[in-house]
Symmetry: C2
Subunit: 346 residues, 2 copies
């Protein structure tokens, strides 16, 4: 291991689309293991590139998400090996999943929603952040708990070819729902219907989403799992069935742009339809992560969950790899491995 702590810092707030100049590389000393109570020192192994991290690069706002301070390492979900711990229930040598940052070594806080969780034995670091990581767990809790999905209902998923969306769509099929996915482009739509086995896909790049939803869901949408927001969310609101549930998972349409999307209308449909719109974070369910992983493993073993991973390597490539989320060049869960121990399973 190097004796320096490589870091990618937020140099400036992105104006619209991400730019190389928004990030700055630095080499700092490795943090001391003289920790405060509750703190954990980790050696990062890999990171998930999550679209919502783009929000964290914006200035503090009314939206309750964290804002990375200028000059500080980029916050990111990551998997890591604990090198020292002053937190209850976590010891040196443990493997953890948590909110880390783009550097070799990081001091994590053990408290609240940001408390790291242990990666179950038997899955490697990359599986812990990818195949069985935050995105599929988000889909699991979002669809089944927040969405209260029930067999026989109609599920529509936006961002359906993405990491979270494709898992939500496939869990919907496992649960006996009629599933329609919304994605961008013929190839993603074909993957959803041919490989993932959902009932229909809507290509928002070439089709009228609202018209197609109305056509494919004549009795309305029972559960709308939304990763996108904006016009696509509006089309869903206008087509929700009575007692329907809108699961607010993401709003990627508005993350990497300086433009403001049209605001949402037709709250009267929510009233007259007794429709629920609910935001959530995967971390709310940290005490049930093992349940989600166990179910995802079983469904994967049974060949019921298609999973695509876009694994990249190299600390030096972090900003470029992350940017692929927004230029359409990635396919599947975007991971960046920065350490050779990534395949260790305990």
């Amino acid at each position: 291991m190097s004796t320096v702590n490589r870091q990618w810092l937020l140099k400036r707030r992105p104006a619209g689309h991400l730019n190389e100049g928004d990030f700055e590389y630095r080499e700092a000393p490795i943090p001391s293991d003289d920790l405060k109570p509750g703190e954990i020192l980790v050696r990062n192994v890999g990171f998930l590139c999550a679209p919502t991290m783009r929000n964290w690069m914006d200035p503090p706002s009314k939206s309750l998400y964290p804002s990375i301070p200028l000059g500080q390492p980029i916050m990111a979900p990551g998997v890591a090996r604990v090198t020292a711990s002053q937190a209850d229930g976590i010891k040196a040598g443990d493997r953890v999943l948590g909110l880390s940052s783009w550097q070799d070594y990081a001091v994590l806080s053990g408290g609240g929603l940001r408390r790291p969780t242990l990666i179950p034995d038997g899955i490697d670091f990359l599986e812990g952040i990818g195949r069985y990581g935050l995105n599929p767990m988000t889909a699991y809790f979002g669809l089944l708990d927040v969405g209260a999905a029930v067999s026989g209902e109609t599920l529509v998923v936006s961002g359906a070819a993405g990491s979270t969306g494709s898992t939500a769509a496939q869990i919907g099929k496992i649960k006996g729902m009629k599933v329609i996915g919304i994605a961008g482009g013929k190839s993603k739509c074909a993957w959803l219907t041919n490989e993932c086995g959902i009932d229909a896909a809507i290509d928002y790049k070439s089709e009228d989403v609202a018209a197609r939803i109305a056509q494919l869901c004549p009795a309305g949408i029972d559960v709308f799992y939304d990763n996108v927001g904006g016009e696509i969310l509006q089309a869903a609101i206008d087509n929700m069935a009575p007692k329907g549930r809108i699961v607010l998972c993401g709003q990627i349409a508005s993350y990497d742009t300086a433009e403001t999307a049209e605001g949402l209308r037709n709250m009267m449909r929510l009233i007259y339809g007794s429709i629920r719109m609910q935001g959530f974070l995967c971390g709310n369910y940290a005490d049930r992560f093992n349940e989600a992983v166990n179910n995802l493993k079983a469904w994967t073993a049974a060949g019921k969950i298609n999973y695509r991973e876009d694994l990249r390597t190299g600390f030096e490539n972090l900003p470029k790899s992350f940017s692929a989320l927004f230029d359409g060049s990635n396919a599947g869960t975007l991971l960046v491995q920065i350490d050779d121990s990534a395949k260790e399973t305990r």
Copy 2:
């Protein structure tokens, strides 16, 4: 009783604000008591002027609310005496609360959400539609069930001086919440703080609602009970506390206008705050109306619920009376009595 059935019909769809010419008076024959299974013939005694009826006068839309056909009597919540019944559980002579229409006699369907409910013995017709009627019951179920209000939390109510809003605000106080009301004008605000005993009132006509909410709710809003929509709902969204609940009860800001309000933004706050926005109808709780009436009676007897009624009389005045909802000239629950039996309690 007259031998004719007086009716107020929807003559044309209102364009923006209501206009006398939108309504047409007609005298029709009294309907036959040769009913189909499930039907009920009633003699109407009084009507509630509910703001949402303004929506029903619009053309069919994506909003799931009913649209009154042109040339048909205006649909309205009403109390009535049953004169003939082919519906299970309802017999001639019963007193009912239900979705009726602006005419002396009406045939009601007994099915679904529109199934009339019996008015409990001991309260008169006007109490059945007013003091213990749909608006206070809406407030009861909206705050306690949809809003899942808990002692010690902060409640903000829009349209707080209205019939539903003032009850929601006062139930909030009964349940031990900190309660802030939003209303239009000094006099309504003074009534809320001085007579209804809520903690603070915001006058949206003279104050910056978002700034005042931020000031009065430094830890955010736990429950927002919304009767108004539009900018005021936006101000609440931007100030919701984590795990907060938005109760969508009405959107009166946009009912009687041809203008389209700004759409809602900042769904990211709903996501990062794990915030729920839920629409509902009072009719969802029809099997618990007696519970609501009993609690409202007990709180009223204990002097804990201030109630203001704007009782008008005369079938001929129905359109004019209803219009008072939208020109600011009414204060309290707006009822129109059309029959002298209104004070009968069984």
